[in-house]
Each structure stands twice: as structure tokens, then as C-alpha cells.
């Protein structure tokens, strides 16, 4: 039922296809890219070439192929998005489920903290937490350098779990009062049984939706950070979508449109596709919508 409803969303199906193709392109990056990350397309002069046969999307300031760099950049960004989303969904579901199920003080304090964090402008909190995290010495071995990809993943995990926890908490709160849970409790089911058999299966839909939105949040967040110069630094032979979008800022005034348009377009396509999928997932897993419309 849920699957059929999902398939009826045309935009979501197209998004799945696009994302699938993109993933394939990215997984087989050594074959699908035409040059290495830091390889120049031809002997100089090769900087700021417009799109042409040997550089489909043009080249950047030191003559590297934008198309190949985009593939490698999307690879890093997708890893950042997926890993931090998985971590934050795991933490968020646990905290949200406990807060919703237990209620009381823990719930109150948890929700106050998440309220506070979510009320602040995103970039402000992100930058401050980033600096605090980088300044605490005992986190260093775990998170690595402040400009490493690992650090970014941990940073977005710390952010992402809160909105997930709110969603799961809400779901658990409403489930808790439903008749079938009450019935299970009445016949003497243990708390663990209720959680495993009823709460988790019935929360999978919202959790999946939260997962998609966390992925988008981490990918655009990484780009935002990189855009303002706080993102991951490209190590040897690595780049990210954020770094490429950040480079677009410098390309605007000089009119090198391809350096701005293609990375931005890629980012928008990715976030739009994932958003469409998340929206369709929400519609198709929401049993409340069965009443039509």
C-alpha cells in the first residue's frame, strides 16, 4: 500500500532515478570521470576554459576539469550527507523514543535544549559549536582536525539528531495513546515488547522521512560552511561540492558562469531530489492520509 502510494508520486520516482544515476556515476568515479581531481586538462594555457569537447563543463583557475571535479566532489558530499544523517537518525530516534515514552523531567529538559538550538539562526549555532568542538582537546582524537571531513560529519551529527528526536518524540507520544498499544499493555506485554513490536515498526515512516531531510541538511550545510570558508579543506586528491560552490563566489564577478552555474545546479538537483523523495515518503507512510485528498 505504502509502496504503491510512493510510486504514484511522479516527481519522487524521477528523483529516485536521478539520484540512482548520480550514485552510480559517483561510485564508479575512476571510470566515469575523465580526469583526476587535480589533473589539468591540457598543457597551459588551460585556466578558465569555457565548456568544450575536452572539458565538458569548462575548467577552473588552474585548468582542472570541472566535470571530473564535480563527480569527486559529489562523492565526498554524499558520504558526508549519508554518514551524518545515519548517525543523527540513530541518536535522534533513541533520544526521541525515550523522551516520548518516559516523559517527565528528561523529556522536558531535552525539549528545552532542542528548542533553544533550533530557535537560533542555523549558521550562528553551527559556527559557534564548530569552534567549541575544535577547542576541546579530548575530542580531537575522535573528530580529527577542524577542517577534516570527519569533523564535518561529527558536527552535522550533533546538529541533526535534534530535529529527528522531535519528530520521533511526537510520533511516540501519539502512538502511546493509541488503542492497540493500550490493548498490548492490558494483556500484560512488557515494555520492551511494546517498543519492539509496536513503537518501532510504526515509527519507521517518520524516521525514514527524517533521514532524507537530515541528508539534505548535511549536504547543504556542508556547502554553506564551505561557502563561508569554514568547510572541509581539500586534502590531496579530494574536493567537495561545498568547495566547488564556494569557488563560485569568486567566479561571479569575473563572469565565468560555468564555475557558478554547474556546481550550484548540481547542489540544487541533489537537494530537490532528496526533498521530493522525503515528501513522497511522508505522504505514503502517513496512515492519517488514508481518508483521501
Amino acid at each position: 500500500m505504502a509502496f504503491r502510494r510512493f510510486v504514484s508520486h511522479k516527481a519522487a520516482v524521477i528523483s529516485c532515478v536521478i539520484l540512482g544515476l548520480l550514485t552510480l556515476l559517483v561510485i564508479f568515479a575512476p571510470f566515469t570521470s575523465r580526469y583526476g581531481v587535480n589533473e589539468s586538462v591540457q598543457v597551459p594555457p588551460n585556466s578558465f576554459l569555457t565548456p568544450r569537447a575536452n572539458a565538458w563543463l569548462g575548467t577552473d583557475d588552474i585548468g582542472r576539469d570541472l566535470y571530473s571535479r564535480l563527480i569527486y566532489g559529489v562523492r565526498v558530499s554524499l558520504i558526508i550527507g549519508l554518514l551524518s544523517a545515519l548517525i543523527s537518525v540513530t541518536i535522534g530516534s533513541l533520544v526521541g523514543a525515550i523522551a516520548g515514552f518516559r516523559g517527565g523531567k528528561f523529556d522536558d529538559i531535552m525539549m528545552r535544549i532542542t528548542d533553544l538550538f533550533l530557535a537560533f539562526p542555523f549558521l550562528v549555532t553551527l559556527l559557534i559549536v564548530r569552534n567549541v568542538l575544535g577547542a576541546i582537546p579530548w575530542i580531537k582524537p575522535l573528530s580529527g582536525d577542524m577542517n577534516s571531513v570527519r569533523f564535518i560529519i561529527i558536527l552535522f551529527s550533533i546538529f541533526g539528531w535534534m530535529s529527528v528526536a522531535r519528530i520521533v518524540r511526537g510520533q511516540v507520544l501519539s502512538l502511546k495513546e493509541r488503542e492497540f498499544i493500550e490493548a498490548a499493555r492490558a494483556v500484560g506485554a512488557s515494555r520492551r515488547f511494546i517498543i519492539r513490536q509496536h513503537l518501532i515498526p510504526n515509527s519507521i515512516g517518520p524516521i525514514m522521512v527524517a533521514l532524507t531531510f537530515s541528508v539534505v541538511g548535511a549536504i547543504t550545510g556542508e556547502s554553506t560552511l564551505a561557502f563561508f570558508g569554514y568547510g572541509p579543506q581539500a586534502g590531496d586528491g579530494a574536493t567537495s561540492l561545498g568547495i566547488l560552490v564556494g569557488a563560485a563566489k569568486g567566479a561571479v564577478q569575473t563572469g565565468y558562469w560555468w564555475l557558478a552555474v554547474f556546481p550550484c545546479f548540481t547542489l540544487v538537483v541533489i537537494s530537490l531530489s532528496i526533498n521530493f523523495i522525503g515528501d513522497a515518503l511522508r505522504d505514503s507512510t502517513d496512515t492519517q492520509l488514508d481518508r483521501g485528498l
Binding site: 542555523f122 550562528v124 561571479v252 526533498n275
Partner: protein, 324 residues
């Protein structure tokens, strides 16, 4: 009602203190103000450093330091900025005025178009117009503000100049370099692109809010009753529909304050618009504690005020809400 407001106000002050304390601790760990002072003034005497620590409340003990800072802050004894040793208040005041202008312009434009689109979409749910507006809003939400800013700059400033000889909208600042005095037309021209960037997000969110809220209302029983009484469609829509659909939106609007400021920070940076966002990013980059703390206090206070407005307006607009 008044007792409710007073009680909420009484709660707002301890909240403000707690949150600013957390911000104070986070900024001290995150930006290390003493180090950044020494970095900016390499040959400073220990005596000067002691003075700096004293006026900024940078006591090694966080709680003690916070109250020292608070004391100085409340009595108006504000420390000067680390970089350039400037007065903080004039810079902050200018930034606030510029941001308020941009923020209000974007909010008015955004909410106006957002509500119109939302209304149009909800009149015939599932129709072609609804689908078009919904998809447009979805795309608008999915585009981060810095992307729309870059693309708009590229199109209206850089390429417009190449194609038509002069750029349609300037891309940075409030006035051209060297301009003095007030010029409304020039100001509007400079504000156009940043306003559009921030407004895109607002239009997208509000059209979706209003659509779903109106659909809820339009399907309710009292709407059917109103129709059966033979009231004209227009009157039903305005008097019954919009009025009730706007209640949840007012609340969301007040809570959305943080998101709008977030969009403003990004937009201001790209357009070099001298507002609160540029102020924050600059002083954060310099680790300029004396500049950052007052900014934070203003932001935290505004968040609390808007939340308060949200709760009060909700209780005031919807008679079904009980205050106790």
C-alpha cells in the same frame, strides 16, 4: 490575559540570563578572547591585558566572569572592539538599522506573495494551478539562499552589463562608494537583489503554510454551515476561511524569526550588505569577543520576544485557547 503576559515576561528574564550565560561560555571556549586580543596586539603590556580581561569579564571562573561581564554590560560600560579598538554601539546600531530595513522589506514582500500564492493554490486543491504553485514552492525551499544569490548576481549584475551595457542592480553595499546622504531610489535599487533572495525563502514557506492551513479550515464543519446559510463565496473565504487559517501562521511567523535572520546573515555576506549578518561573520572571524557578545544578546532577546509574541497572539486570536 494581562496576568498571562506578565507571567511570561517574568519567565523571559531568567531565560535570557541562562541563554546568554551559555553563549558566553561557548564564545569563550570557541573564540578564546584573550588569545585573539594578544594576537591583534602583539606588543601589549601585561597591565593592558589585565584591563582587557577585567572589562570583558574574562575571569578564569566562568560564573564569576559572566557576572562581571553582565555588570559592565548593563551599566553601559562596554569594552571596545579588539580589532581597531572601536566603539561597539555605533557599529551595532548601524548594522541593526540596515538589517531591520532589509528584513522588514523581505518579510513584507515575502509574506504578501506567499499568502497570495497559498490562497490561489488552496482554492482548487489538486488542480493545475495548485500543482504549479506547490512545485514552485518546493523548488524555492530546496534552493539554499547563497545559491539564489550567486545566480541572481550573475544574471542581473554581471551578464546584464555585458548584454545591455549597464547592470540592472548593483551587487554590494547600501550606497555606491563615496555616496553621502539619503537617497530612497538608490537605496531601493541596492536593496532589490538581497530582498529578493531572502523573500524567495519566505514566499516558498508561507505559501505552503497557508495552503495546508486553509485546506484544513475549508474542510471544516463551520465552513459547510456558512455555505448552507447562503453566504457568498467571497465572504466565506475572507471572513471565515482566511481569518481562521491565519491563526496558526501568525505563530509560525513569530517562531520563524531565527530562520529569517539565518537567511539574512548569508545574504548580507554575499551582497556585502553592512547589516547584522556581516557584522557577525566579520567579528566571528576575528574572534572579537567585545563585538560578539552584544550581538548575541540582541539576537537572543529578539528570539525570546518573538516567541512571546507568538504565544500571546495565538491566545489572543484563538478564543479556544485557554491560558491556564
Amino acid at each position: 490575559m494581562i496576568r498571562y503576559i506578565l507571567r511570561r515576561l517574568a519567565w523571559a528574564i531568567p531565560t535570557l540570563l541562562i541563554v546568554t550565560f551559555l553563549v558566553y561560555v561557548a564564545l569563550r571556549i570557541g573564540t578564546n578572547p584573550v588569545e585573539s586580543y594578544k594576537r591583534s596586539n602583539p606588543r601589549v603590556t601585561p597591565e593592558k591585558i589585565r584591563q582587557y580581561i577585567d572589562i570583558n569579564g574574562l575571569d578564569p571562573n566562568y560564573v564569576l566572569g559572566y557576572f562581571r561581564w553582565l555588570n559592565n554590560f548593563v551599566t553601559g560600560n562596554w569594552p571596545r572592539s579588539i580589532k581597531g579598538s572601536r566603539e561597539v554601539w555605533p557599529a551595532l546600531k548601524d548594522a541593526m538599522a540596515n538589517t531591520l530595513r532589509l528584513g522588514i522589506a523581505a518579510t513584507v514582500v515575502g509574506v504578501f506573495f506567499g499568502l497570495i500564492f497559498g490562497l490561489l493554490a488552496s482554492l482548487r486543491p489538486g488542480g493545475r494551478r495548485d500543482i504549479a504553485i506547490n512545485t514552485g514552492a518546493f523548488i524555492g525551499i530546496s534552493i539554499p539562499p547563497f545559491i539564489s544569490a550567486i545566480l541572481l548576481q550573475l544574471l542581473f549584475a554581471v551578464y546584464w552589463q555585458r548584454w545591455f551595457g549597464s547592470s540592472l542592480f548593483p551587487t554590494s553595499g547600501v550606497y555606491p562608494a563615496g555616496h553621502t546622504g539619503f537617497d530612497l531610489f538608490l537605496m531601493l535599487k541596492f536593496m532589490a537583489l538581497p530582498t529578493i533572495v531572502v523573500a524567495i525563502q519566505i514566499v516558498a514557506t508561507y505559501s505552503r503554510y497557508l495552503r495546508s492551513s486553509l485546506l484544513d479550515v475549508l474542510n471544516s464543519d463551520y465552513m459547510r454551515t456558512a455555505r448552507s446559510k447562503g453566504i457568498s463565496e467571497r465572504r466565506i473565504l475572507v471572513h471565515h476561511g482566511m481569518r481562521n487559517a491565519l491563526i496558526p501562521i501568525v505563530t509560525v511567523a513569530a517562531i520563524d524569526f531565527g530562520a529569517i535572520v539565518g537567511g539574512l546573515i548569508i545574504t548580507e555576506n554575499i551582497f556585502s550588505y553592512p547589516g547584522m549578518g556581516l557584522y557577525f561573520l566579520k567579528s566571528f572571524g576575528d574572534g572579537d569577543f567585545p563585538l560578539l557578545m552584544p550581538w548575541m544578546v540582541i539576537i537572543v532577546a529578539s528570539i525570546l520576544i518573538f516567541n512571546l509574541i507568538a504565544d500571546i497572539s495565538y491566545a489572543w486570536l484563538d478564543p479556544r485557547i485557554r491560558l491556564e
